[in-house]
Symmetry: C2
Subunit: 248 residues, 2 copies
Amino acid sequence: MSDKRLYQSVARNILDMIESGAYPPGTRLPGERELAERFGVSRVVIREAEISLEALGRVEIKVGSGVYVRNSGDTIGLVLPSVTPFELTQTRLLFESECAALAASMITDAQVEELEATIQRMESAPHDSADGEGADRDFHLIIAKASGNAANVFFLQTLWRMRTEIDAVKKVYAAVCHEDASHRVNEHAAILDALRARDPLAARAAMRGHFSRLLEALLDASERQAIDEARRNSSANREKYLKSSVAG
Amino acid sequence: MSDKRLYQSVARNILDMIESGAYPPGTRLPGERELAERFGVSRVVIREAEISLEALGRVEIKVGSGVYVRNSGDTIGLVLPSVTPFELTQTRLLFESECAALAASMITDAQVEELEATIQRMESAPHDSADGEGADRDFHLIIAKASGNAANVFFLQTLWRMRTEIDAVKKVYAAVCHEDASHRVNEHAAILDALRARDPLAARAAMRGHFSRLLEALLDASERQAIDEARRNSSANREKYLKSSVAG
DNA sequence: AATAATCAATTGGACGGACCTATTTGTAAG
DNA sequence: CTTACAAATAGGTCCGTCCAATTGATTATT
């Protein structure tokens, strides 16, 4: 209906098929010939659509085998810019705080309950487990949705992709995850309280506090990490130069 | 060195041609037929290569005209969600206001001068011209850069892509562009004053004012547009039913 | 002379069929 | 049960043809 070139409309259809859950990550898409028949287009168009999806990192084409859906998690940094963990956290601070303020005046009772559920999941999940991280993500995502703005949801998702797909970010966040887990539950609870009270100013302040503390924790962690690395390097150097002095 | 599929190796060659400076941004690449002959491959392969480059945002394909090199600085890749003009403007309000507040305490004198230049460009450009729009974009982009955060720059670019690439948004923004131009220059000047004074609160307030007014203008315009459409429909209906009553 | 309508050349878009190579898989021989 | 091989299946590439959009020059009109 809307796309100018045929292959783009086909690519969108395929993307919809994938995102509807019909083809979970790792599964094979139907063959080019079958898709061509199903969409009533030529094989060339199917190939073009799949190539564009491959360029976007959504599928992986294996010759002689088939086209496979990629977990959007294993995309490499091609589409995302390289940002530091601090930049990301600063942007999350300013963006998500405003989302929270907006959400406070729009949130439904059902969404409040969903938020409660994520906090319970975080409490019962072992620290830094996959489910704990999922609950963290859901908490922030629900708030973005509660702001009633599709662009906000999109940016929240993009921010989360940066957190999980950019190596430098992933590393530093992981280092801070252990000691962070306990604070996180409390802070999420404080944010939830403000949202439940439909208080925009309190929600903004609580979210800012959440990320301010995270930013500090990240700075501490990266400092420790830098020290560790320096120590490793210097001990490696010591070894290296001692060795050469023995050899000499 | 050698990519698995032919189109990828061709895409890399084309990219090298572009990045060598042989085809600066805005210029047209040789036609598919010529490239096919030059690389010794079929037109299909050239098309696939160009499509992958288009998906990555490096070139723009215009049917019947040619393939054009895009500014490499432009954001690439991400598939945009469908957002309304109002959602976009609301997100710009909350996001760019915070960027402005950040920028106020980080901006350099050189960046202040760049901002002044964009305002002069807007004053001298005919309303709603391409250059006027470019100056508008540059104004906001410079502020995002002045915030000293690569993630902010990335999101600013993505927001601008939404404004120019989503049909529904483009339409409503265009409708408001004429009467908006005069206000816009004044408001940009007010924002610049706050930045020049390195006053974060004033910068945030000025930016919020800028987008608040824009949001209202958009609402007015869309209301008028809805009324126009309703009028058109009703007159079409009148014609239709008058005709049938005459026929009957 | 300036402007509007028209037409032809160029360019990307799409089709279908043919043939290639890589991978998978089922079956038969060991 | 394992191995070896061969058909079936999958994507990769080419060719030639035709369509549709764009553009610019040509011509007609005012």
